[in-house]
Amino acid sequence: MSKQIIDAMAMQRALTRITYEIIEKNRGINELVLIGIKTRGVYLAQRIAARLHQLENTEIPVGELDISHYRDDMQLEKPAAKIDIKVDVTNKRVVLVDDVLYTGRTIRAALDAIMDNGRPVNINLAVLVDRGHRELPIRADFVGKNIPTAQNERIKVNVEEIDGFDDVEIDK
């Protein structure tokens, strides 16, 4: 059984608030780079970039990151060359964007992948949903909504670009 917990309006508002918080925390958008974690994190990163463009009239580069090769739960071979994230991160302020923060393992993998690409000034983490149950010492700097969950529940973020509509659902 699935139940909607964030509707389209609230999701838009969360992304709007995260955008303002990014400006607040970074004291502007100098040297800012957004990196979305595939798949849905990329679309969320693009939406934040679109909002920053509306406000500041500046294009913020958006990178994409596929962390499959860096995951610790799959026996894929480490890539021979570093993964191309399409943006330069050295001396940048990176905001890593993902839809759901859960164990923290995805984020750890993403951090490894970013570090392989260069040396950023700092890395912040923005997530639409923080559902708890961390297995690593990782926390988000920008959170759309904290949603306490049970381990056996599943959080599904839908984005218009691929799912046809925006919302967040919880499956039991």
């Binding site: 508002r13 969360a14 918080e21 607040e24 406000l55 988000a140």
Partner: protein, 358 residues
């Protein structure tokens, strides 16, 4: 019901039929384009010392209801309508508009060509006006000699703190003559509210350990308020999530270095289209403002313009770059008006939820 007259400071006279109180009053004349919600408008304290002209052809068909008061005692100085409805079929009504105005000593005039009057006001701008029994030289002399107070806030804001208890977040409202709609929206979100007089100091506000502070709506020109108000805003915005509404928005702008411009004609209505800059989305919102923040005066290193009126490009919302503090010129409590503006209040509560992260 006898003939009465509306006279304007520029010498024009409009004849109609009196209703409500028989008092002779003086006020600043403004027009409101709302189709509904006259009770909320008349009881809104931003209309302190003002004579309100309604552009909607018939006013009063909904009666006066218990759930549509925006203040306890309205302090408007007059109501000008094309046609006052004597009959209301609303089952919630307690009385008709005529009786309500009589009770609160507010005169009304019906039968005035409000379209012609509003066109005239759009050309000549806001001015003094008077509701009189006879428009002779004496009446005009009296009108011209009248000096309207610039201390409207003192007349309508609470002099004392009072609570509006709830079980949720602690919100302090600094009162400049608030609309009840603000408290209603806070109650809907279970907030534990304390309303404080605007003369309060920063320590007293912080001693209540608020999760958020709201600077309320109110009448008049904020530049007539004491400097302590702007200092209070500057100190609080650094420490706690903050929302300015209406007059509170103007104070937020002034406190952060912007200046105000007088609007060529005031914005009063429930149907103003406003663009949310960050998403390019359009909101229809209720407004009631005689001033707007001058866009050329905004220090972009400090403030972001968040909302713009798409009719005249006036600034309708601001946000601080460094703190979780923002403001809207329109009324997000939607009393009366479309509900979409209430998302501004949701934003404040979402700010409260996430403020501990920094």
């Amino acid at each position: 019901m006898s003939n009465r007259y509306l006279i304007l400071a520029d010498g024009s006279t409009y004849e109609g039929i009196g209703f409500g109180s028989e008092a002779t009053t003086f006020g600043h004349i403004v027009f409101n384009t709302a189709m509904t919600g006259y009770q909320e408008i008349i009881t809104n304290q931003i209309y302190h010392n003002q004579i309100i002209v309604f552009s909607a052809p018939t006013i009063g068909a909904g009666g006066i209801n218990h759930d549509a008061y925006e203040s306890i005692f309205p302090t408007a100085k007059g109501v000008i309508v094309r046609d006052v409805a004597e009959v209301s079929t609303n089952r919630l009504k307690r009385m008709n508009l005529d009786k309500f105005l009589t009770r609160h000593n507010i005169p009304g005039i019906t039968g005035i060509d409000t379209r012609a009057l509003i066109r005239h006001l759009r050309e000549t701008g806001p001015q003094k006006a008077s509701i009189v029994d006879f428009p002779d030289d004496h009446a005009f002399d009296q009108l011209n000699a009248t000096v309207l107070t610039t201390r409207q806030v003192d007349a309508v804001a609470t002099p004392r703190a009072y609570p509006n208890p709830g079980t949720g977040s602690t919100v302090v409202v600094i009162d400049f003559g608030l609309k009840h709609g603000i408290l209603r929206q806070l109650s809907l979100r279970n907030a534990d509210v304390t309303v404080l007089p605007y003369t309060v100091d920063t320590e007293t506000v912080l001693s209540l350990d608020p999760d958020a502070v709201i600077f309320s709506t109110g009448p008049g020109d904020p530049r007539d308020l004491p400097n302590s108000v702007f200092e209070l805003m500057r100190q609080l915005q650094e420490r706690v999530p903050l929302l300015g509404i209406g007059l509170g928005h103007e104070i937020f702008g002034l406190a952060n270095g912007a200046s105000l411009v007088k609007l060529p004609f005031e914005h009063h209505g429930t149907n103003h289209p406003v663009k949310e800059v960050i998403t390019n989305a359009l909101l229809y919102v209720p407004q009631g403002a005689g001033y707007a923040v001058d866009p050329t005066s905004i220090d972009h290193a400090k403030l972001i313009t968040t909302h713009i009126d798409i009719i005249d490009n006036s600034v309708q919302g601001l946000r601080h770059r460094d703190y979780p503090a923002f403001s809207v010129a329109f009324f997000p409590d939607s009393a009366p008006g479309p509900l979409e503006g209430t998302t501004v209040i949701d934003e404040l509560f979402e700010m409260i939820e996430t403020k501990d992260r920094f």
